[in-house]
């Protein structure tokens, strides 16, 4: 193998080994302490859509015109109330980015434009994104939305009011919910609160906190009176964090990068012993540069037919 290729290989292998891998939790990018979350108690939600207006105002988005018609987030409305006819009557569920503990989008983004902040929110950074939409492919909750009709398209999604949280405030939706369906706090505290509510009123709630373990855990936790697949949550998300799904592959990369060239070169040398070097090529029996049979035209055809 020539020197350049070898160094390149070594460099790449080294880089991939040395760089941190996403395991259970994403690396926080600044700040300390436990991450925050929001507890959504759907039994208290009456579908008033105050949160969607508050969100629009806080993020500089247009006021939602027909909130009842929009049941899923869009590029211009980052949270939406879904209305579901369930076995226990009409249930309202607030949908937005789940701000996973170990986000798929964060590990998917090849320019590190999706950042998992230490305080919990997953934010999109405009200056890095190249619009490849791999985050959209990877997200089990269909969080990121893309501005297809723009010439400078952005990814749009709930950012859990990261700037407000940094100032010690609550997200706009939580602040403005009149029914107290939204609770902001440290994720661990919220989990405790959630289980307490279930314990206090077991016939009112399904005994499950959605987001506790789904996709390795999300920052937005949900309580409901019916099964979560009835109110628009994906049922087959599983409990392992999504980045871990790519871990076996990514972990194998350094092995391939080191073993493959070694094996290939040794086999190539072993096979070539005793071979004549092809014409038009320097022969270096002592080894040195991997001089391979050059793809020269072989002197096969004799001038048998005069042309």
């Amino acid at each position: 193998m020539n020197r350049r290729g070898f160094l390149k290989t070594l460099g790449l292998a080294g880089a991939t080994v040395v760089c941190p891998r996403t395991s259970g939790a994403a690396e926080p990018s600044g700040g300390a302490g436990e991450p925050y979350g929001v507890l959504v108690d759907t039994t208290r939600c009456v579908g008033c859509n105050t949160c969607t207006s508050a969100c629009a105002e806080a993020n500089g988005l247009p006021e939602p015109e027909d909130p009842e018609a929009v049941t899923r987030p869009t590029t211009t409305q980052w949270t939406a109330i879904g209305r579901y006819k369930t076995s226990k009557g009409e249930v309202f569920a607030k949908h937005q980015c789940m701000h996973c503990v170990s986000p798929a989008c964060h590990s998917a983004c090849l320019t590190a434009a999706m950042e998992k902040t230490a305080r919990g929110p997953v934010v999109w950074r405009e200056d890095k994104c190249m619009g490849c939409r791999f985050c959209m492919i990877s997200c089990p909750f269909d969080g990121p939305k893309f501005e297809y009709s723009s010439t400078n398209p952005r990814i749009r999604k709930c950012v859990m009011c990261a700037e407000r949280i940094a100032k010690g405030q609550q997200p706009a939706c939580v602040d403005n919910c009149p029914e107290g369906a939204l609770t902001f706090g440290k994720r661990n505290d919220l989990l405790r609160e959630a289980h307490k509510r279930i314990g206090n009123a077991p016939d009112q709630y399904v005994d499950h906190v959605y987001g506790e373990r789904e996709a390795g855990g999300t920052s937005w936790l949900y309580l409901a009176s019916v099964g979560f697949e009835e109110i628009g949550f994906p049922a087959n998300v599983g409990e392992s964090s999504y980045p871990m799904l790519t871990a076996p592959f990514l972990y194998s990369v350094p092995f391939v990068l080191t073993l493959a060239p070694t094996l290939l070169t040794s086999v190539a040398r072993a096979v070539r012993k005793g071979e004549e070097p092809h014409d038009g090529e320097a022969s270096n029996p002592a080894g040195g540069n991997g001089s391979a049979p050059a793809p020269a035209g072989s002197p096969g055809f004799e001038e048998e037919d005069a042309s």
């Binding site: 090849l110 999504y242 014409d279 038009g280």
Partner: protein, 423 residues
């Protein structure tokens, strides 16, 4: 009795200076109004218009991409499928340069050229699908590395592989330009470039499968598997070889006048040998698919409509071509092998599209169907690649023998042990 003109001459470039030579090579060589030209030029012009609209009005103006299905024909076909088809390059160079199987020597250059151009055009077509292609620089210059991303790995490997493939092909360019010393220097790098290229190919062919690992609930379970990278890698072997087989028959017709005697005579033998390799690998692949269905407890799904579609792909376009290859090898029928190759290629297209588009978010009420504009652009990318391929084949020693001066020892005494040409 020779068709190739300036190549049997003893002097590089027929003695002309480099600039005169380049100028003369830029002229079209061959009839202008062939059927291919008349069909492909309007398509490419139309695509240029469509792309202008795409960049001035956004992706939604010309595509049917949606929030649920963010990757469509351009990524799913051009990138994911096109790269699988370029797999012939790494496998053939493995056969010739690592395993020393000289009998495939005559097809190395055309296969490597095809592979290189495929990456340039198809992976390059990726840029058309990005929301902000200019930000691609972030990935390259190290402004912002998302190292835990599979796509990061693929992007880098594509770039590095293009360089490796170009290196592998560069002796042909040096021969065309008549630069003896350059050619010798480049030839010495061949094994390194080949080893590098094979390593990279292993990782990014499987990496294309790894791209969908995080789309766990979105890719239909019959196609989703934790072993998706391995399936993509294995199928890239016979995908690439089928293209080599098929392309060989095409170039044999289109460029018969350019082929060296040796090339033409060896062609049938090569087709049969490659078909044998395809057959063996496909035999294993079928078992791997069975294993996957059992391992993932997916038997029940085979009864659904998607299940029938899955069976069509595996039975109709893996098992059936496997039979064609097997019997083609046994009966020494190049025609049967060609049929097998075409069916295999269709099967690969199906498989890749099933994973990336058709089986992606299959439960959505509104399915993704590409707009005619997307189809035109996809076609134009393929046609543009063929244009460049043709330009190169007609001028450079790809299908025919290298010029005679290759066999002469280089004048300068820099290689004291240079073995004189052993004719």
């Amino acid at each position: 009795m020779n068709g190739a003109q300036s190549f049997s001459e003893g002097r590089p470039r027929g003695g002309r200076s480099l600039w005169r030579f380049l100028l003369s090579e830029l002229k079209p060589k061959g009839p202008l109004f062939t059927v291919f030209n008349l069909v492909s030029v309007p398509v490419m012009i139309a695509a240029a218009v469509i792309l202008f609209v795409r960049f001035t009005h956004g992706l939604s103006a010309v595509t049917n991409l949606s929030q649920e299905v963010p990757w469509g024909l351009w990524k799913g076909f051009n990138v994911v499928t096109g790269v699988a088809f370029a797999g012939g390059a790494y496998f053939v160079t493995l056969l010739v340069y690592v395993l020393g199987q000289k009998k495939y020597h005559s097809i190395v250059r055309i296969t490597v050229l095809n592979g290189f151009l495929a990456y340039v055009f198809y992976a390059g077509a990726l840029m058309l699908d990005l929301g902000r292609p200019w930000k691609m620089l972030n990935v390259v210059i190290g402004n912002s590395f998302g190292v835990s991303s599979v796509l990061f790995l693929i992007a880098w490997h594509f770039m590095l592989y293009m360089m490796a493939a170009f290196l592998e092909f560069s002796p042909a360019i040096a021969e065309w330009l008549g630069m003896k010393r350059l050619r010798r220097a480049l030839s010495a790098l061949t094994l390194g470039a080949v080893v590098f290229g094979i390593t990279l190919s292993i990782l990014h062919q499987s990496g294309l499968g790894a791209l969908f690992l995080m789309a766990k609930g979105k890719v239909h379970p019959l196609w989703y598997s934790e072993f998706l990278p391995i399936y993509f890698l294995v199928s890239s072997v016979f995908a690439g070889l089928s293209v080599v087989i098929f392309e060989g028959t095409l170039s044999r017709r289109m460029f018969a006048w350019r082929m060296s005697e040796q090339h033409a005579a060896e062609h049938d033998g090569i087709v049969l040998s490659l078909s044998k390799i395809c057959a063996a690998v496909m035999y294993a692949y079928v078992f791997l698919k069975v294993l996957d269905v059992v391992h993932g407890h997916k038997l029940a799904l085979l009864g659904t409509s998607m299940g029938h579609w899955f069976l069509l792909e595996v039975v109709g376009f893996v098992l059936v071509p496997l039979a064609f290859f097997t019997e083609g090898v046994r009966w020494k029928s190049v025609a049967a092998c060609k049929v097998g190759a075409v069916l295999t290629m269709i099967g690969i297209v199906l498989n890749r599209l099933n994973v990336s588009i058709i089986g992606f978010e299959w439960m959505q009420p509104v399915r993704y169907i590409p707009t005619p504009y997307e189809v035109v652009v996809t076609l134009a990318v393929i046609l543009a690649e063929i244009w460049v391929l043709r330009w190169v084949i007609v001028r450079m020693p790809v299908l025919n023998d290298s010029p005679a001066w290759v066999r002469e020892p280089v004048r300068a005494a820099e290689v004291p042990e240079a073995a004189p040409a052993s004719v």
